[in-house]
Symmetry: C2
C-alpha cells in the first residue's frame, strides 16, 4: 500500500513489540499513564491476531501508528471502526503521514467491511478537528445537527 | 436481577423481535432513519448470540431497552463497553428505569470483565449529561481535563 510518499502497511503480530514501544512513548510524551511496553506488547500480540483490532504502520523502523478496533452495531450491516490512537513520532510530524493513514483507512473501509469510522477528538484541539474534517469526518449528527460529548466510567481506577 | 422496582433482565436471542420494535420506535420518535423492525430483528438475533453485544430489558412486555456493544482496547486487560442505545417508551419515562439499567451495568461491569463503559451524549442535552454524571460518568479526561467530541464518517450514505 502506498499513500503519498509514505509506505503505509497493516501491522502483523510480530510488529507487537515495536507498536508497544510507540504507544508507550505516546503516553509518556502526553503524560498519560502506561502499563509499560512489555504488557502492551503482550496485549497487542493477542489483539493483532484477532479480527477485532488492526494497526497501520509507516516507516521502517515505524515512525507512526494508527490503532483501530472494530465492533458490531445494530444500525449497520458492516462493522464500526474506532480510531483509538493516531501517533506520529515528534521528528516526523507535519509531513503527511497522518493523512496517509486516513487516506488508507477511508480508502480501505469498504474492503474491510467497515460502514462507520468513529474518532473522539479533544474539544479544544482545533487542529485535530480540522484534520479529521478534511478527511470527511463530521461531529454534527445529520438530522438534529447535535454534536456529542464522549462520556466514560473507568472501572480500573478507584472512584473519585 | 432486580434494580429498584424494575426487574432488569439480560435479553436472549428470542427477544430480538421485541427489541427490534423498540429500536424502530425509538428512531421513529426521534425522526432518525431506521432499516425497519424486520432487518433489525435479523441483526439482533445474530448479535445477541455473539459475545460482542448484549441488551438489558425491563418489563414484560419490554418498556425499556439498553443496548451495549463490546470491544478490546490495548490500554485495558478487560473489555470496553459502549452504551449504544438507552430507550424508555414514552409512558414510562421518569420512573427510574434508566437508573435501574445504569445500576445494573455499573454493578455487573466486573462480572462482565468490563474495564470501561463509554457513552456519547448530545452536547445540548444537559439532563442526559447530569443523568450519566449521577452514575459516575465523566467527560473530562483525568490528566488534561479535556473533553472530547465524537467525530464520525458514515460510508453507507453518499458524501455531502
Amino acid at each position: 500500500m502506498l499513500s503519498g510518499t509514505w509506505d503505509v502497511r497493516i501491522a502483523k503480530n510480530n510488529d507487537a513489540v515495536e507498536i508497544a514501544q510507540l504507544l508507550h512513548d505516546f503516553n509518556t510524551e502526553f503524560e498519560t499513564p502506561s502499563p509499560g511496553p512489555r504488557i502492551l506488547a503482550d496485549r497487542l500480540f493477542a489483539l493483532l491476531g484477532s479480527d477485532g483490532t488492526f494497526a497501520l504502520l509507516a516507516g521502517r523502523p515505524a515512525i507512526a501508528l494508527a490503532l483501530v478496533t472494530l465492533r458490531s452495531n445494530v444500525w449497520y450491516d458492516g462493522r464500526v471502526a474506532l480510531l483509538d490512537e493516531l501517533y506520529v513520532v515528534p521528528g516526523h510530524r507535519n509531513q503527511g503521514v497522518g493523512s496517509a493513514f486516513m487516506n488508507e483507512l477511508v480508502g480501505s473501509a469498504k474492503a474491510f467491511n467497515i460502514d462507520l469510522i468513529e474518532i473522539n477528538v479533544d474539544e479544544g484541539d482545533a487542529d485535530a478537528q480540522r484534520f479529521y474534517a478534511r478527511h470527511g469526518f463530521v461531529s454534527a449528527e445529520p438530522v438534529t445537527q447535535a454534536r456529542a460529548f464522549y462520556f466514560f466510567r473507568d472501572f480500573t481506577t478507584p472512584p473519585e
